[in-house]
């Protein structure tokens, strides 16, 4: 037992715990005066529920051997596809999007789970094809491998999470050592596709692949001044909230933008604005520091992993985390368009919290099992016995 405990990455756990507590505190501040809540702590309790399930998952995962997932890659992939397809069909519609499957006691956001499933499936897929790194054909296969679930998510519609899938793909193939030329090709193709979707199709063929609100979010981002729509209002209120925090913030629970309801979605998408307003530059830096620590440990785990598979899993986790942090915080600061991506560990939403705790669990698993000698276990079929301590 003590060996197990000794092989956990405690720094990572501490940073994660720090982020989770930070998140609970900020959710309390943002929602305690909410008129629609049944009690000041309603949201905090709801989040805690997700927390508990996530922590259990984290512990379980850190105990099991992640290499298991390598064998299950295919099944995980099709399970993902299946869930996503199901969501499109029987998902409950909220605000014009089908993202949730409602079960008796809670709602499942399949795209969130999809992130984990993709990381695991793609890691297995790429590790399996490790010798085909030079093959463009294989690379394109990988692209399609990811594009399929991504498209299903895009159709919900959920552009933000679809882009997370792209981020996962990019991080993982990068670490997988894709040929630079292939990567450049893919980048070029992406730019071309974006141009087609945003310009050519609408103007020449009249085909709008993006919904109006999605387009609006992009235009507001590019041109904030002219717009008086809701998207522009959100953006402007967020900037006011962040900037008015100044160096030390207005004080915990003292944010006027938040408590006077100027800032919408202050406990979900824009929770960082609350942090920036109430805790100022100092508080914001502390938060970013915590994220940086988590990422640093993830990079370390990636490099320590003796198998490509483990490295890829870590890379996938890095991709999700870094992308979402950058997009969410960037959005609140006005340097990224408004998306629905939550801030990992902090935003209210038990699905998201669970998923990130699961990712941390996977990282722990990779960390633990990269020192299999300590753990003493051996998997059949392979000689990496020389995993010296």
């Amino acid at each position: 037992m003590s060996r197990y405990l000794g092989s956990l990455d405690w720094v990572l756990l501490a940073a994660t715990a720090g982020l989770v507590c930070f998140g609970l505190a900020m959710i309390y501040s943002a929602t305690h005066a909410d008129l629609t809540a049944s009690s000041p702590t309603q949201y905090v309790w709801a989040q805690s529920l997700g927390l508990m399930i996530g922590v259990v998952a984290l512990v379980v995962l850190s105990l099991i051997d992640f290499t298991w997932f390598a064998r299950l890659g295919r099944y995980l992939y099709w399970m993902n596809i299946g869930l996503l397809a199901l969501t499109l069909v029987i998902g409950s519609e909220r605000m014009g999007a089908r993202r949730w499957i409602s079960l008796p006691f809670f709602d499942v956001q399949t795209s969130e789970i999809g992130k984990v499933l993709l990381v695991l499936a793609l890691a297995a897929f790429l590790a399996e094809g490790v010798e085909l790194r030079g093959s463009l054909r294989f690379v394109l296969k990988a692209v399609i491998y990811v594009a399929f679930p991504a498209t299903l998510i895009f159709l919900q519609p959920d552009l933000g999470t679809a882009l997370v899938f792209v981020a996962i793909f990019v991080c993982m193939v990068l670490v997988w050592s894709i040929r630079w030329s292939h990567l450049a090709l893919l980048a070029g193709a992406a730019v071309a596709a974006a141009t087609l979707v945003l310009r050519v199709f609408p103007r020449t063929f009249g085909i709008e692949l993006l919904r109006p609100y999605q387009l609006q979010r992009l235009t507001v981002f590019v041109n904030p001044g002219q717009d008086t729509s809701d998207a522009a209002y959100q953006l402007s209120q967020s900037k006011i909230a962040v900037a008015s925090g100044m160096f030390t913030g207005k004080g915990f629970m003292q944010g006027t933008q938040t408590h006077l309801n100027f800032l919408p979605a202050h406990h979900t998408d824009f929770i960082f604005s609350v942090i920036a307003e109430e805790l100022g530059f100092v508080g914001s830096l502390v938060l970013l520091l915590l994220f940086a620590v988590v990422l640093w440990r993830a990079f370390r785990i990636a490099s320590l992993s003796k198998t490509l598979h483990g490295t890829l899993i870590a890379a996938g986790a890095i991709g999700v985390l870094a992308f979402q942090v950058f997009v969410n915080v960037g959005m609140t600061l006005g340097i990224m368009p408004v998306t629905g991506l939550p801030l990992p560990f902090i935003s209210f939403g038990s699905n998201s919290l669970m998923v990130f705790l699961i990712l941390v669990g996977l990282l722990q698993s990779v960390h633990v099992h990269s020192r299999t000698a300590l753990y003493g276990g051996r998997l059949k079929g392979d000689p990496y016995g020389q995993m010296a301590a």
């Binding site: 990068l174 100044m246 940086a292 990422l295």
Partner: protein, 629 residues
């Protein structure tokens, strides 16, 4: 196989590539974080202040608390203008959402056109943080209760308590009191209103305007914190308003009412006499020792409470309709008329002072006067015979004064006009009411400038002759006449007339007493002055006097003068001016009935009515007075 360690199975040429790739990825992530940190620095440290100000702007609202306006009293402490509490509905542009639905809905509830609301919001300009008053004096039931109950449907709409003017006597001294209204954009540019903000209520006419800075007090402010829906959450700061000072006028409201009734009565008498075009009249009553106005009425007038809460276009159009004969116009200070025979005492005084004649000199009046083959008639066809100054005044002998005019002409200079101007004609009296007209005393200069034809520009003997009986291009206001006569009554002082007596604070303590002001002095010899006074006294006391019939039976000696002015193409205008008691004057009254016919029969009885009320005499004048002048 896919689980084989990286080390063992590396593709050629990609040594430790995973490690390098990780390093590249790490650098990229680091860059992203750096971007975030720099952006945070930019927003929070470099631009923090301006955004903080924006945050404050959004959440703080400063509301003005109206100060109660000072009360206006008459000289006896009886209130003429008071305040009552009312509710006004306004819009705070910053909180207004979905105007396309809210504005029409609000318009329907208030019962006004939606364009009016939009127009008001447009003229309010850029200031989004100040409430634009849409309608004052809105009834609590049902309008305000509805708005408050359905406040969620009216984001940005505010109901505020305000003070509104109330007039206990309804229509009394309307033009003196004036009215209040919202300051217009042009008003706010004026110096005395510089400290005020849009939506402030200011006096627009009468003493409300002249003494506005005393009456209006100082607005208070209340700063509240509001949420994103504009709902006030808590009060941050509050400054109480300072109530306005009260104003005590020189007016006696009892006498004022009598004066108004006397004008109405005079017009009725005129109609009875066949002068059916008479619709308007003026009475000015003042104290000739101090210039205090005891009563001043211009008829027709109107109910000033029509202005309260904003006058509708319909009402206004009705008031300025010619058929209403201009109730908004103050004829006492702005009405311009030929003085006619009421001018004679001043012509006489000027003649005496310039040593043109002496009062004992006799002129012969056969009924006409001839000069240069032109003939001027006396109102009395057969003439008055031989008269001196005293008799000429008493009987209002025109020919006597034609003679004076002719002599004045021969002096070849504006001697007559200068003398008349010394009595205040052709200039403003300086009364503390706005917009007074100076009238005009024509002379050769004036004719040169204003004559329409070649001949018109020459000053002829006829001009001086006409001027001497108060006709020609002469124009005076009833107030000017009163001040000029007061000089005769008080021994030569040209006083500045006034309606304000005192300023008092909310507890009634006098903070300012307004003193008598003597503008100038007319030097006239004692004997000469005495002659004029005797002539005026005889007007009412001697059977030859033109107002003898009108004042028969009046127990107190009145010195005065009748006048019947020609103002073609209308009927003659009836004048009478007089003061009493003749030997120790306390009150001086001037009455004018437009197109009323004869001064003796129509204007004189009106003056008598006022004097009766003042002296509280039992007697009342005859129902019908025979016509003299």
């Amino acid at each position: 196989m896919y689980l084989e360690p990286v080390r063992r199975r590396r593709l050629p040429g990609e040594d430790r590539s995973a490690g390098m790739r990780l390093a590249i990825l790490a650098t990229a992530v680091l860059l992203l974080f750096a971007v975030l940190v720099f952006r945070l620095w930019f927003l929070q440290i470099l631009s923090g202040d301006q955004f903080a100000a924006q945050a404050d702007n959004q959440r703080l609202r400063t509301v003005l608390i109206q100060a109660p306006r000072g009360v206006i009293y008459d000289r006896n402490g009886s209130p003429l203008v008071t305040n009552r509490a009312g509710l006004s509905v306004g819009i705070l542009p910053m909180d207004l959402r979905s105007p396309e639905t809210v504005i029409p809905h609000l318009a329907a509830v208030l019962g006004i056109p939606a364009e009016d609301i939009r127009a008001k919001l447009d003229t309010a300009g850029q200031d989004e943080y100040r409430v634009v008053t849409i309608r004052q004096d809105v009834p609590e039931n049902p309008v305000v209760s509805y708005l408050l109950e359905h406040s969620l449907e009216f984001p940005g709409v505010r109901v505020e308590k305000s003070y509104l003017r109330e007039y206990p006597n309804k229509i009394l001294a309307t033009h003196i009191l004036g009215y209040v209204g919202e300051a217009s954009y042009e008003d706010l540019q004026k110096e005395q209103f510089q400290t005020l903000k849009g939506g402030a209520v200011i006096g627009k006419d009468g003493v409300e305007a002249v003494h506005d800075s005393m009456l209006r007090g100082v607005v208070g402010t209340r700063t509240v914190e509001v949420d994103a829906a504009g709902v006030p959450k808590r009060v941050i700061q509050e400054n109480q308003p300072t109530p306005g000072s009260n104003l005590v006028l020189t007016i006696d409201s009892g006498l004022q009412a009598v004066a108004r009734a006397a004008v109405v009565d005079g017009i009725a008498r005129a109609h009875a006499d066949g002068f059916v075009n008479s619709y308007a009249g003026v009475i000015v009553a003042l104290d000739p020792r101090s210039g205090e106005i005891l009563a001043m009425t211009s008829y027709p007038d109107y109910d000033p409470s029509l202005w309260v809460g904003g006058m509708s276009t319909e009402t206004y159009q009705n008031l300025i309709d010619p058929a209403q004969h201009n109730p908004l116009f103050d004829r006492a200070t702005k009405g311009l008329y030929p003085a006619a025979s009421t001018f004679k005492p001043f012509v006489a005084a000027t003649a005496l002072r310039s040593d043109l004649i002496d009062w004992t000199q006799i002129f012969s009046d056969p009924g006409t006067f001839t000069r240069d083959q032109q003939v001027w008639r006396d109102w009395l066809l057969q003439g008055h015979g031989d008269v001196n100054l005293v008799q000429a005044l008493a009987e209002s002998c025109d020919v006597y004064f034609y003679n004076l005019g002719s002599r004045f002409y021969d002096l070849k200079g504006p001697v007559l006009q200068d003398g008349l101007r010394e009595f205040g004609f052709g200039q403003r009296t300086g009364i503390d009411l706005p917009g007074e007209y100076p009238g005009q005393v024509p002379d050769s200069e004036w004719k040169k400038k204003n004559g329409k034809t070649e001949i018109d520009r020459i000053w002829k003997p006829g001009d001086d002759i006409n001027l001497s009986i108060g006709q020609g291009d002469l124009l005076v206001t009833p107030l000017q006449l009163a001040i000029a006569l007061a000089a005769i009554a008080n021994g030569g002082d040209i006083l500045v007339p006034r309606v304000a007596r005192q300023i008092t604070d909310a507890s009634g303590n006098v903070t300012k007493q307004i003193e008598t002001e003597v503008k100038s002095h007319v030097d006239i010899g004692a004997e000469d002055l005495d002659a004029i006074r005797r002539g005026l006294k005889m007007v009412t006391s001697d059977p030859t006097g033109t107002a003898y019939g009108a004042f028969r039976g009046f127990p107190i000696a009145v010195a005065g003068k009748t006048g019947t002015a020609q103002k073609k193409p209308g009927d003659d205008y009836a004048w009478f001016m007089g003061y009493a008691p003749a030997d120790a004057p306390e009150i001086l009254v001037v009455a004018l009935i437009e197109q009323g016919g004869h001064g003796s029969s129509i204007a004189a009885p009106a003056v008598r009515k006022v004097l009766e009320a003042y002296f509280r005499t039992e007697s009342s004048g005859p129902a019908q007075v025979e016509v003299t002048e």
